[in-house]
Amino acid sequence: MYLVANISVDICAATSCKLCTQFCPEANTILYNDEAGKEKGLRYGSAYVSVDRCKGCAQCVWVCDNMAKHNAIKMEMIDLIGDQALTENIHYGEKSTTATLANPFPG
């Protein structure tokens, strides 16, 4: 198995800097959901990772830890993180995206 980035909605939606979306070298991989945090009563939306496109470079972790100083992103084994966003389940809206979460390794 291999590592992919996993963003904590609880931390991200409390701060919302969007830096990781700008610094990811992969296109259409770290996306933003305006409603993700509001569902939990938090102030902002949250970034999330389309894990099937993540190459595991951890640049977003460096950005979140050192530039934003939010420590919201951790590298985790893809088969152990449960339901995640996958490219085929991402829906683009007018100003935001949403993802139907699914297990990347069902069964």
Partner: protein, 296 residues
């Protein structure tokens, strides 16, 4: 080369792949999208085979987001890592033989101006330091001397990264590489100085650890190239493989290099400043009012 090519053929829309549907319905074509909105729209660049954590990919991604009119843009590249990503974008990409990218872009730019007249069609060359400063050096410089109206962007990773680590003209003096075990014996080429002498209207250096600056620089270079003349951007895009930079330290390296020898510089001719302020509303380049002379 226009909004006409980013739409569905009638009757085929439901059969198109999801990525294509997203691109047509939620892509940046015909809209004003910025780097700060990234993550909320479908990007032109798609999945690519470049190494994990590559700073060059980050720069290419930001550059493509920054194109002022992506639906009217053609990219030109050559052999090297960069074309692996540039060719995966939903805008036309022309692959020049090694080193002739600026020659190809010259013909393309002239042809598009003949064909489309006043409608802006932007040609942007994205090539590595080897393709531009070594093998394609003559064609690059000649296109600048001829005042060809297109943008040239050097993806400067200071090494031949795709072929195993040979030194290039842009490698720093003394640098030891896999295929340069004794260290490079000559100074890094001053392409910025040559671009200015050759008559480029806009010359800038940039590092991809400031996305909004990359966006601003690319936009200005493309807009000036439309109206005034050749523009040149030299971007530091480290090779984390050949320089053995851990992927999670790539941006740290970018910052160190920016502080050390790749500081942001920007050079514009007076004509370029007039174009930016007059045609495109860049207030910072408006002529400053002359203070009134008062008699004491």
């Amino acid at each position: 080369m226009s909004l006409d090519y980013v739409k569905f053929t009638p009757g085929f829309d439901k059969w198109m792949p999801k990525e294509y549907r997203d691109m047509v319905e939620h892509g940046p074509f015909g809209k004003k999208t910025t780097v700060s909105q990234v993550g909320s729209f479908k990007e032109i660049l798609e999945e690519h085979p470049m190494c994990a954590g590559c700073a060059m990919t980050l720069f290419i991604r930001l550059a493509i987001i920054a194109f002022p009119n992506p639906e009217d843009t053609i990219t030109v590249g050559t052999a090297g890592c960069g074309r692996l990503a540039i060719s995966q974008a939903a805008i036309p990409f022309v692959y020049g033989n090694y080193g002739d990218q600026n020659g190809v872009a010259s013909g393309l730019s002239r042809g598009l101006r003949l064909r489309f007249g006043d409608r802006p069609k932007d040609v942007v060359v994205l090539a590595g330091d080897g393709g531009m400063a070594d093998i394609g050096f003559a064609q690059t410089l000649h296109s600048w001397f001829r005042k060809e109206k297109f943008t040239t962007i050097m993806l400067d990773n200071e090494v031949y990264g795709n072929t195993g680590g040979q030194e290039s003209g842009m490698t720093n003096k003394g640098q030891v590489l896999k295929m340069a075990p004794l260290g490079k014996k000559f100074e890094k080429m001053d392409m910025l100085g040559m671009a200015k002498i050759a008559g480029c209207a806009y010359v800038a250096t940039v590092v991809p650890n400031n996305p909004r600056r990359v966006e601003s620089v690319i936009k200005k270079a493309v807009l000036i190239a439309r109206e005034v003349g050749p523009t040149y951007i030299q971007a530091y895009t480290s090779c984390n493989i050949e320089y053995a930079i851990p992927t999670d330290k790539v941006l740290e390296d970018c910052k160190e290099v920016e502080d050390d020898r790749y500081k942001f510089t920007e050079y514009l001719t007076d004509e370029a400043k007039e174009t930016l302020s007059g045609l495109y509303g860049y207030k910072e380049y408006l002529p400053k009012p002359v203070p009134a002379i008062t008699k004491n």
